[in-house]
Symmetry: D2
């Protein structure tokens, strides 16, 4: 069985490499010729278009930057849908809005294809180490088929229920993350402003009910989480712009579903304001700079 | 050594009982005669006023409902400050704003008394079980003296640094808690609204970066955390009104310190709006009712 | 010269009627046959499709409910673009997002057509009375050509600058309106809550710096503006859902332009929350019901 | 009849000067000796304390910076309450929170004195020109007595109803003003960002439903309102810090009255954030700098 892999960027390239390391036969495609060459050097076979990838594979992964690219690769000219034989499995690991995900899955289904969404978290470090988290939206049978393949690339394979649910879970998690990081920034800034040592404050919160991943693992105050970007000039990690994009997916999906999100909407604007101050490419924990007075 | 205990309400009464159980000699005072009788029945000695309590004790605890009561008991007529001999230790376990805490500590210091703030969390269940968390703001030497006594009433004794820091840590934790609970409510409502099972959603978040105490221990969606108030009609726990009071301490302290709190201020208003809809005495995780559409 | 008119709904029908009253030759089209019959009864000529309307007219107006309808009527099958001869003037009076407006105008321009956006305000009452406001985005020469025709339907013809600017001005005005109405609701609720008579409060504000259209003309407190919907059970006027739609255009356009809108985003969520409580079809001044405690 | 005047700052000094110009006998007091000398040079008589002012006058005005100063001058040592004979009229023109105003009025009443609150707007220019607006909270009979005297100092004397209502009206107006100015800043920034000329945009809004004092008289975009501070480097007018203080009175009074203020609370935080960026002493229309991207 050939596995197709379309999209060899910062995330996709190491993921494809891990499939090759695991002994899989991989057919790749990317608009960046250098990325294709690098994959071929590791044992992959190159194809000229998504259509040609699909024509040679019974399982195809895509890892692309935006919903627009995803739609193009699946349903555009020389796209996957044109090449895939009935019964082919398609797995989109990009982060897109749930509506786009569900529309594509329905289109695939109408053509006799089987499609799942499996957005990832864990960053480029996780992609290289093969320790990614996959949030999988798929029918139960398809999930069972995919899980062993995903294990070549990730450690935590979450079954989110039906098609599109992977994207929903991802945007809900990232919505909560974006708010928690901002809230942690408010709490840390207030406490330090009022005279408490940041290490003492974080330690107390982390043994109490305010505890969250943003306080105990990825604290935005420099030095509190020694391995986190906040302790290294806010370099690395998920950027302000990436988190802004994810929160925007959540806020837009909420609007379409008539779901109010008071804190989510405020957080989206705060990230935009911070991005406009020149912090867009820095780690998202730098949102604390909006608050610090020292 | 006699230990004084002023304030025998829902929290104070079981705390005093635990001191008595531990074999301490306790002198009590409360405006509620029945509460005093109950403590006497357990072995306490009654005193007629805070002044009289202080006159007989080398260590005095207070557990009172509002800053106004605290000021009255310490500096009002027949108050602690009038009765305490130089060198007496005073420990206020009430939740008050940091400014009030620091003013009282300064007043005590000027009179040769030694005072600490040690607000508590853990609720009435923790008070009875002796498993409270104390957030202690005290000079290092005083902290060392207090810790063994606090261990009769609590399990987690946190050294928050100097005087007033206990209150600062408490309001920072509770600020973060109030926002996290609201953010968890937004994320859970959005995900369920978009078709994901609440148990699956919570489970996925809890193994990812959105994880927080409000999602993994005290989830606001009914049934997700079986022991939490959300699974029992939002009865018990910390009420909407209590959390609103704590967030207000944080927002007011932030204003005095010129510290902006965008999410904290929005959260304060959301709790007020929810309290006005008749939910004021229910558990604070009921804030999710502002968001649920079903 | 024939004038085309596509979209004979609550706004379009009386607008077309006013053109007919002014002696213009009008060719109409709508999917609702009854609406077409009514226009024909007033002297209009019916056409079978937007394409056929465009083929017979040198100036075509459209008044349609959503951007999706607008795109369909202009660029869909049997659409305007297929029928219009080079040099035809096209004027879209629908409210759409500025990006859609500018894309369509560019498409028209590429085909040798001249297009303007001219969204309207003034409601069905203004449409019938011929007192609408048009916010016109057009090249100067085109504006000069259009103005006399628009005067048959409106009183206030605003030159907003170039193509697309009419939509921008409309969403900016409506963004400010939505926030002002909510802010007036907060101020009125607070003042009455604190014991001031609502008429006295509004009168004082209206002679001071808080004055705005929402306080002096369309006050949300019942009885203060006798002719406003607030004094008539919040019936009539622009609905909560319509204002929510307009604010959403503004927030989405702002996001695309990386423009933070803190109050706009919060207001959007408040209207959504209020719509979810069953107020969606009532006048938008009913947002005060989110705040009133009596 | 002597008129007392306590507080000869930027506002009080020209107000007292206008009373003197109108031929009134004025007894003054201020902790700033130079300010007292300047008033004496204009014909005033100096007194050593608020108590001595009150002892010599049947009507006393106060214009003081904060609630703390007001309480001190009325009820502190050598204060007004100690000197005033029963039946004396007291008028506080300071801006204070409604609760402080009502407590002082009740205290005065209990001592047989008659007190009104009459906060002012119009700035130092209005104070000098005698064109201030007074928002008067007083019993009807007292209002009738005060009005002719206030006309020596102001043009617009608003009867806000009973005691304390002047303060309520002032904070409600200023709450609405602070939000409107921020909302106007969002709308102007968005429109210009999307390509519309700021003069055209303001003009269109000002003939539509978004019209407000902040858009038509005091527009925050430089050059739109030629006489406004925005057109003169944001110098002059009411400062960011002053508006922040007023909004804080509103938010705090709302909290005490259990009145949610979503936009008011957000606006308070935005002014704090802006003040922290070094804009605290500039005109409050400079809040637009938080939003402008150019």
């Amino acid at each position: 069985m050939n596995i197709g892999f379309i999209g060899l960027g910062n995330m996709g390239a190491p993921m494809a490499a891990n499939l090759l390391k695991a002994g899989q036969a991989v057919v790749v495609c990317d608009i960046n010729a250098a990325a294709v060459d690098a994959a071929v050097a590791l044992g992959a076979v190159a194809a000229a278009s998504p259509q040609e990838v699909a024509a040679q594979c019974s399982l195809v992964f895509t890892v692309l930057p935006t919903p627009k690219h995803v739609r193009q690769v699946y349903t555009g000219a020389q796209g996957i849908m044109d090449g895939a034989a009935p019964g082919t499995f398609l797995v989109d690991c990009s982060t897109v809005d749930p509506q786009t995900a569900r529309e594509l899955i329905a289109t695939a289904s109408a053509r006799g294809l089987r499609m799942a969404d499996a957005p990832i978290s864990g960053g480029t470090i996780g992609a290289k180490a093969g320790t990614l988290t996959f949030m999988v939206g798929a029918e139960a049978e398809l999930f069972a088929r995919l899980e062993p393949v995903l294990r070549h690339m990730g450690k935590n394979i979450i079954d989110c229920g039906g098609p599109g649910n992977g994207q929903v879970v991802k945007i809900c998690n990232n919505l909560l993350l974006a708010i928690s990081m901002t809230a942690t920034s408010e709490a840390m800034s207030l406490g330090v402003n009022l005279g408490v040592d940041p290490h003492v404050l974080a330690s107390a919160i982390n043994s109490s009910s305010g505890r969250c991943w943003s306080s105990d693992t990825y604290n935005p105050w420099p030095g509190v989480s020694p391995d986190a970007p906040a302790s290294h000039g806010y370099v690395g990690g998920g950027s302000i712009e990436t988190v802004l994009k994810d929160v925007t997916f959540a806020v837009d999906a909420a609007h379409a579903a008539k779901q109010p999100l008071m804190l989510g909407a405020a957080t989206q604007q705060l990230y935009q304001m911070h991005a406009n101050s020149g912090w867009g490419t820095k780690d998202f924990s730098s949102i604390i700079q909006l608050y610090r007075k020292d």
